[in-house]
Amino acid sequence: MALSSQTALEPTVFAMLALGPGARDEYQRALRCLLDCQNPNGSWPGFIGDDTEGAWTTALALIALANHLEEVRSRRQGFRWLLQCAGKESSWLWRWKFRTADRHVRFDSRKFGWPWQPETNSWVVPTAFAILALDHLPASWAVEHSELRLQRGIEMLLDRVCPAGGWNAGNSVVYGRALAPHPDDTAIALLAMKNRSDLSAVRRSLAWLEDNSSSLSAPWSLAWSALALAAHSRCVRRLLSSLAEQVCPIDIGDNATLAVLALALDWERSLPLLAS
């Protein structure tokens, strides 16, 4: 696949987490880039030059900054934006619409999370990353509504789980038909549910991912699967061997995938950075 030369937040954050502060120059450059591109409203853009309204990548930036306790102002502004950003179905008007007139997608609109961009619905991946980011919110900051939003986000993920376990983008049943889960979406949601292995939806999803990840060959899905299964204390030796054998890093076209691959191969170090 062809490469892009535009700086985007997703690969930047995953690269920061994969490299760690040990890679002094590269890490510092990425950190500077991250701090410099924060929007005036506290959010982060999807890429350099993006509109300034904010994007789901705000959660990623906050995860990357979790160990930078000195960046108090930047993080506080980021968390404030994240907590006031919600799926459009959180407003009573749209909730009413989804409960009365627009019922082809089965979901409970009272359970809302985070959108990819403002003024749209909640979806699984941005909600999972927002939950992971909020897990890094210092308790001493006592930010209003944080507990409530966290709870709503978890409820939303549980509401959107596919009938056979696992998650896709966020539509589990449409027109009465179950849609298939995706390995990467499932894995990212499971990371957000790291401390909730006892829930039946989580157990079902873990089983689905275990059954389906062994046959994967795509590095992005394989790497996320390994991280999620490791987070839930499953053995990932085979998956990692598969990653190491099947995937040649030189063949990987995009840096986000390359960084997630590195995170998976070094999961014992990287998991606490992603899911505290």
Partner: protein, 356 residues
């Protein structure tokens, strides 16, 4: 009886009329800033029984029915690559994409690229490998660009159906000289059909708009289709109707063979023709109806047809209940007003185009 109007009443009445006119004017003003309709459009229907048959020569001969000028140009093939569910006719078949790429190379294209930005699936590599695209494209040395993660540029819209002023669009799309929309012919539960114009949702990048590109749903699917297609011109259409999909498309419908590849130099003509092949009335599909005002021709009277004869099916394609009204009421002749060329004359047409 005489009616007298005072000067004051005249002024008040005049002001009321002026206010009404200025308030309602925006609703009557066209929402497009371009008119790309050709005087006449050309569509060719090619018969292809299934994907195991040789199709390189068929595609090439089909393209020769059109006076295409692609020499030295960069051609972007935009298939419909959504997800992979074994047994479901979801994606434009990879062999058709490869055959199209080879045909454009034979016609002198400088570079042929395949690009897609899947709507729900973030792992493009997974869809590529599971759907066998990766193997086929690698074998034929055809580069693939993930439009969801390509470099993006801000582009003002050439229509205002969504009231979005601009979209961020992939550089690969904006820098291509010749864009070929290659939809899978399918019924769609939100838009009635997904054909060459709806297929262009895939050029909207996920890295900006997410997976799915939910802003387009909030702004209206038909409206978004119109804005995207006004801004990103489709130069040619190769629609995969060999194995189409009816019912609850784009993912959970049922395969339905049409055994046809539709070629067209006008996306509106292509979509109207595909809709007729599916047993639908194109003018009942909002984005096809509206696009025929400025993007192309939907009327059979303005479409020159080559190749196979266009026939409505005995039973129209199944659709979800909300779109029952798009199904044609009864079997009709579709040749009225068109210049259809029967299959037997295809070779003659091909020869004529070559000479011309």
């Amino acid at each position: 009886m005489s009616v007298s109007i005072t000067r004051r009443e005249l002024l008040v009445g005049g002001a009321a009329v002026a206010t009404g006119v200025s308030a309602s004017a925006p609703f009557f003003r066209p929402r497009y800033r371009i008119d790309r309709r050709p005087r006449r459009s050309r569509v060719a229907l090619l018969r292809l029984e299934d994907y195991t048959r040789p199709m390189d020569e068929l595609l090439y001969q089909g393209l020769c029915l059109f006076p295409l000028k692609v020499q030295g140009k960069t051609v972007l093939l935009k298939p419909n690559l959504v997800d992979y569910i074994p047994g479901n006719a979801i994606n434009t078949h990879q062999r058709l994409v490869v055959a199209s790429a080879e045909a454009f190379r034979r016609l002198g294209a400088r570079k042929v690229v395949v690009g897609e930005g899947a709507g729900h699936q973030r792992d493009t590599q997974l869809v590529l490998s599971e759907s066998s695209y990766e193997q086929e494209l690698t074998l034929a040395r055809i580069p693939f660009v993930d439009l969801n993660r390509d470099e993006v540029q801000r582009r003002p819209l050439d229509a205002s159906y969504t009231d979005l002023d601009y979209l961020w669009l992939p550089r690969t799309v904006l820098e291509s000289d010749f864009i070929v929309s290659m939809p899978k012919v399918k019924a769609h539960h939100w838009s009635g059909v997904t054909l060459s114009m709806k297929n262009m949702f895939g050029v909207v990048p996920g890295q900006k708009y997410g997976w799915p590109k939910n802003i387009l749903h909030w702004r209206g699917i038909h409206q978004s289709i119109l804005d995207i297609c006004a801004t990103v011109p489709i130069h040619f259409v190769i629609a995969d109707g060999v194995m189409a999909m009816e019912g609850d498309g784009p993912l959970n419908g049922s395969p339905r063979p049409l055994r046809t590849v539709v070629l067209a130099d006008d996306p509106v003509a292509a979509d109207a023709t595909c809709a007729r092949l599916m047993g639908f009335e194109p003018d009942r599909i909002p984005h096809i109806r509206e696009s025929s005002r400025f993007l192309g021709n939907s009327s059979p009277a303005l479409i020159d047809q080559a190749g196979e004869v266009l026939c409505r099916p005995e039973v129209p394609f199944q659709v979800v209940p909300e779109f029952q009204h798009i199904r044609a009421d009864e079997k009709q002749s579709l040749l009225e007003g068109s210049e259809a060329e029967p299959a037997s004359r295809m070779d003659a047409v091909t020869r004529r185009c070559r000479v011309g």
